[in-house]
């Protein structure tokens, strides 16, 4: 008889998700789905609010990457205002976004994924958590805690709050950087270098022992999307998007925030509240793509900072063309952290960073605006329409997790088919299926921002495709 395996909840994720694996009469995997089962509603309840409230409202979507929402939202507002923000404000925002990337990646790598990587996929699940890592590898545990604190403390120094800082506003930032804060951040940099180098060394030491996982953890050719500068260095806050194909060839370049919805569409599947982004000319699902650390490194020709550039060179040697296995998101995440530390140091070394002109002002000069940025887990686009009074009439947010949604589902199916044979599986096997999702570090609270897209319907089918049971809510 057919059987359904449910992993609910999927643990060590940002938010709540569920995986369903369908087995046929022979116990072989026929299908698998990663479900996002929560619903939020931000796009709907933003309607009627003044546009200048949007950054603070939208940041509440997420407690892990509120800065990316702040920045993408502020940029959408600046498009409505038709202003260019001061150079120093742009650099301060860049630093804030990188600090968030460092803390979010530290959380993902050390707290959520390192228990699998350092203790083993088959290790005792009762000890497979951050406490287990700390007990087994205290130096690495300390490094992870310090790196998260490094990023969070910079956010707190700049925005006066660790979570949901209100410092980023349409037009720039609310206050300039004080020299004492600059010096405090610079004083933290040497330890941050020590910690990330330790993590990179530890990761490289163990990565090859995961060769079987590398082969089946969402390891398939796909498109990749990410921000890049004109000089082909990686970018997190400005620049424009580039889309490359599975061979690494550019298929769409210079995608500004305003052009985003010309080239990117969103599909809906009946099993998830998260939408599925795709490249319009190829349609859905052929136009599905990946975003985030792996995509950024596959797209960038150079990081633009010396240590991260050396690491990028090593990373590029993993494959001819784009690195395809999503297992390497872990590796790319650590290189992102190294880049973030270097770039923060570079930004703070520019004397103009203390300039006091950090905000431009204007009213409503356009009735529509878009903004984009790289969140830690990938590209983020905010698109708003306003009336002549600046009240929001429509909003759409395309979130990184939605852009990785198809890849996560393909990856879950790939791993489930590989590991589950004749209906037999162990806890370690199910943990591997979950670990595929963890490589993407999805943020599920970010991804389900629309209300009324679909009802949640749970359907149980037998091997003949006949409906056995259904629950609708």
């Amino acid at each position: 008889m057919t059987q359904t395996i449910t992993i609910d909840p999927v643990t060590r994720l940002e938010g709540h998700g569920k995986i369903t694996i369908h087995l046929n009469d022979q116990g072989e995997v026929e299908n698998a789905n990663f479900h996002v089962t929560q619903v939020r509603g931000f796009e709907r309840f933003a309607q009627g609010r003044p546009f200048y409230e949007m950054p603070s409202l939208m940041a509440r979507i997420c407690g892990i990457c509120p800065v990316s929402h702040l920045i993408a939202s502020a940029k959408a507002c600046e498009s409505i205002m038709s202003v260019r923000i001061p150079h120093t404000a742009a650099q301060l925002r860049r630093m804030l976004n990188l600090a968030q990337t460092v803390q979010s990646h530290a959380l993902s790598f050390f707290y959520l994924s390192s228990p699998d990587l350092l203790l083993g996929m088959e290790s005792d699940p009762a000890a497979r958590h951050i406490f287990g890592v700390v007990a087994a590898k205290p130096e690495l545990g300390r490094a992870g805690v310090r790196l998260r604190r490094f990023g969070q403390h910079i956010i707190e120094l700049l925005g006066n709050k660790r979570i949901h800082p209100g410092w980023v506003v349409p037009g720039g930032v609310t206050e300039p950087l004080a020299s004492a804060k600059r010096d405090e951040i610079l004083a933290m940099i040497p330890q941050a270098y020590t910690d990330i180098k330790l993590a990179l060394t530890a990761y490289k030491h163990i990565a090859e022992s995961f060769r079987p996982e590398i082969e089946v953890f969402a390891n398939f050719p796909s498109l990749y999307l990410g921000l890049i500068n004109e000089d082909e260095t990686v970018e997190f806050t400005d620049g424009a998007l580039r889309l490359i194909d599975a061979k690494g060839e550019i298929i769409e370049d210079g995608i500004t925030a305003a052009r985003f919805n010309e080239v990117i569409g969103e599909a809906v599947e009946p099993y998830s509240y998260t939408k599925f982004a795709y490249y319009k000319p190829l349609g859905y699902p052929a136009g599905s793509y990946r975003v985030g650390p792996l995509a950024r490194l596959n797209i960038a020709k150079t990081m633009g900072t010396p240590l991260a550039d050396w690491e990028l060179g090593q990373f590029k040697q993993l494959a001819i063309g784009p690195v395809e296995s999503s297992f390497y998101y872990h590796h790319a995440r650590l290189i992102d952290i190294l880049y973030g530390i270097e770039k923060i140091e570079e930004i703070l070394s520019d004397p103009r960073i203390l300039d006091t002109h950090v905000r431009a002002t204007a009213g409503v000069n356009r009735l529509e605006g878009s903004g984009q940025a790289e969140a830690p887990r990938g590209t983020l686009n905010h698109h708003y329409k306003v009336d002549e009074n600046g009240l929001i009439t429509w909003a759409n947010l395309v979130i990184a997790t939605g852009q990785n949604n198809n890849a996560m589902n393909v990856g879950v199916l790939q791993a489930a088919k590989h590991y589950i044979k004749a209906g037999k599986f162990t806890e370690g096997i199910l943990n591997r299926v979950e670990a595929v999702v963890r490589t993407f570090d999805p943020c599920l609270s970010c991804s389900t921002h629309a209300l009324g897209q679909m009802p949640l319907v749970l359907t149980l089918l037998n091997a003949d495709g006949e409906q056995v049971d259904q629950v609708v809510r």
């Binding site: 951050i130 406490f131 007990a135 205290p138 300390r142 998260r148 604190r149």
Partner: protein, 161 residues
Amino acid sequence: MTESATRCLILACGNTLREDDGVGPWLAAWAQERFLSDPSVRVLSRQQWTPELSEEIAAADSVLFIDCAIDADPGSVHLTSVEPGDESPALATHHLGPAQLLSLSQELYGSLPTSALQLTIGAASIDLREGFSPAVNAALPDARASLELAVVRLLTPTPNQ
């Protein structure tokens, strides 16, 4: 022993938008004022207690955790000692309890405060609103007095110190 800068760390937890859950931050704000002139008392208020706080805890001589309790009688005030421990570690990525934080401080930094106390105030409601329930409002004087007493206890050297 080496004197650390913080002789008493007050660590509050809660969300002021969730009714009685906000009592921790409220007491932290009160403590900030009350001990403003004493540099050996440090007050931190967070919506969640995360692993990064273990460094602050390891560096303090003593720590007072403050939080609401949803499993206690509404408005009841309890002051108890805390020991390092392991409460549901599998879920310990975004929020830790006092015992876990102490345990993590010991594991990561090989250091623990000499004394650790926990002050809890029983919550009647943690609904989405600001302000407190009548039970918690009525308990605020007791909670302040217990907080003050706890800090005095924690700042008083024990015979071994």
